[in-house]
Amino acid sequence: MTEVSVTKDEVPPTGEPLVVLDGVNKHFGALHVLQDINLTIGQGEVVVVIGPSGSGKSTLCRAINRLETIDSGSIALDGKPLPQEGKELARLRADVGMVFQSFNLFAHKTVLENVTLGQIKVRKKDKKAADQYARKLLDRVGVGNQADKYPAQLSGGQQQRVAIARALAMDPKVMLFDEPTSALDPEMINEVLEVMQQLARDGMTMVVVTHEMGFARSAANRVVFMSDGQIVEEQSPEQFFTNPRSDRARDFLSKILHH
């Protein structure tokens, strides 16, 4: 393993620590995808994770809500370590919202049902309260008039906004976004980013894997740059984009800026 000096804590996490990763390691067979990851995400903070393909960004996100197990180290949410499989874990997952690149809406359920299902089955709300809250959230992400359609009848941008509403319906403590706009046609990217920007302004704690620099600059408190399973650099967006410290970050930025 090559030694890298991690440039970090230019910007210390603001607010109380909400998600704390401490010495997290993860392997896929011989591949060391997460290498001694230490990362603290403060309450209300927006952290953008950026890095080349295969650097472990998705795995990092998925480890935070335990869709992926870790080999060593610890991950704590709101002071409590992630539980093992079972009811406890299900409860934790409900507190961590996740938005996927491919939306993953439930294809056999209407938009409204997509947003009420978790509230009813996991949060045990009654149907009426769940419907009401779902409609409010759908309005908030601008797809209120699509409530009775099926996901396949919506555009990609609309589907992703429904997916955001579905995650928000659980009142999560933190929202994870794994390349939420990568599968979208260019003209739909902004409608999703705007919803995310609004969320950030409303104080939601967010971890966002994205290469959208406009979003990172305007919404992120911190940029975390990953490469080969390591956090190579943690900076303010301004610092990172104008004056990256590591060669790997410079190299990466020159590639995504000039194409």
Binding site: A90, D95, N104, H108, K121
Partner: protein
């Protein structure tokens, strides 16, 4: 022709016997098969392992051998005094469950994995995810193979007749032993099976179109 009219009670008993045995073992195999499919996709390795062993064992054993085991080996181990009908039900159900399991599992595999992950990320348990997200979407792909499996089950139930369970095929043996024209007996028995298998495929086709409308 006369065979049927003169021995209507026997034919009727045989028909009802086949029908009941098929229905009961179908229900048993369905419940067991879905449960085994759940095992095979569960996050718990011992359950997955159990499901795999089960399917391998019962799918690859000749049904007649299972009947023999049910009749001659099982009573030596657990002497619970099962009636021939129950033994037949067990043999047919266990055998068919492995096919149901594989049909359901391949149906499950057609549902995009991301949806199950999204459900889990909402805090739904494995059971909830399977029942509310995966299985409802798998149903449509599972119905055609399930129809074939149930038709095969109907015909397989004839083996029970050879093991002194009252059903259609046994009636054939009974009557031909009494010296009736074998061609006529066969014809009536075959028609009776046809009635049942037609009913099954009709039922499944109805289900299929229902599900299509529901989308």
């Amino acid at each position: 022709m006369n065979v049927l009219l003169d021995h209507l009670p026997e034919f009727r008993d045989g028909f009802v016997g086949t029908l009941l045995l098929t229905l009961a073992s179908a229900a048993f195999a369905l419940v067991l098969g879905v449960l085994l499919a759940a095992f095979r996709v569960s996050p718990v390795p011992p359950l997955r392992w159990f499901g795999t062993v089960w399917v391998t064992l019962f799918r690859n054993t000749p049904l007649t051998l299972l009947f023999l085991v049910m009749w001659f080996v099982v009573p030596q181990i657990f002497d619970v005094g099962m009636s021939p009908w129950v033994k037949g039900l067990m043999a047919l159900g266990l055998y068919t469950s492995s096919f149901v399991c594989e049909a359901v599992r391949s149906g499950i595999n057609t549902v995009p994995f991301g949806q199950a992950e999204a459900a889990r990320s909402l805090g739904m348990t494995f059971g909830q995810t399977l029942r509310m997200i995966v299985l409802p979407q798998a149903t449509r792909t599972v119905i055609p193979p399930l129809s074939s499996i149930m038709i095969a089950l109907t015909k397989n139930s004839a083996i029970a007749g050879a093991f002194s369970v009252t059903e259609l095929f046994g009636v054939q043996k009974l009557l031909s032993d009494q010296g009736f024209a074998i061609a006529w007996i066969f014809l009536w028995v075959a028609l009776a099976y046809l009635v049942i298998t037609f009913a099954i495929s009709g039922l499944f086709r109805l289900l299929e179109s229902r599900l299509e409308v529901a989308r």
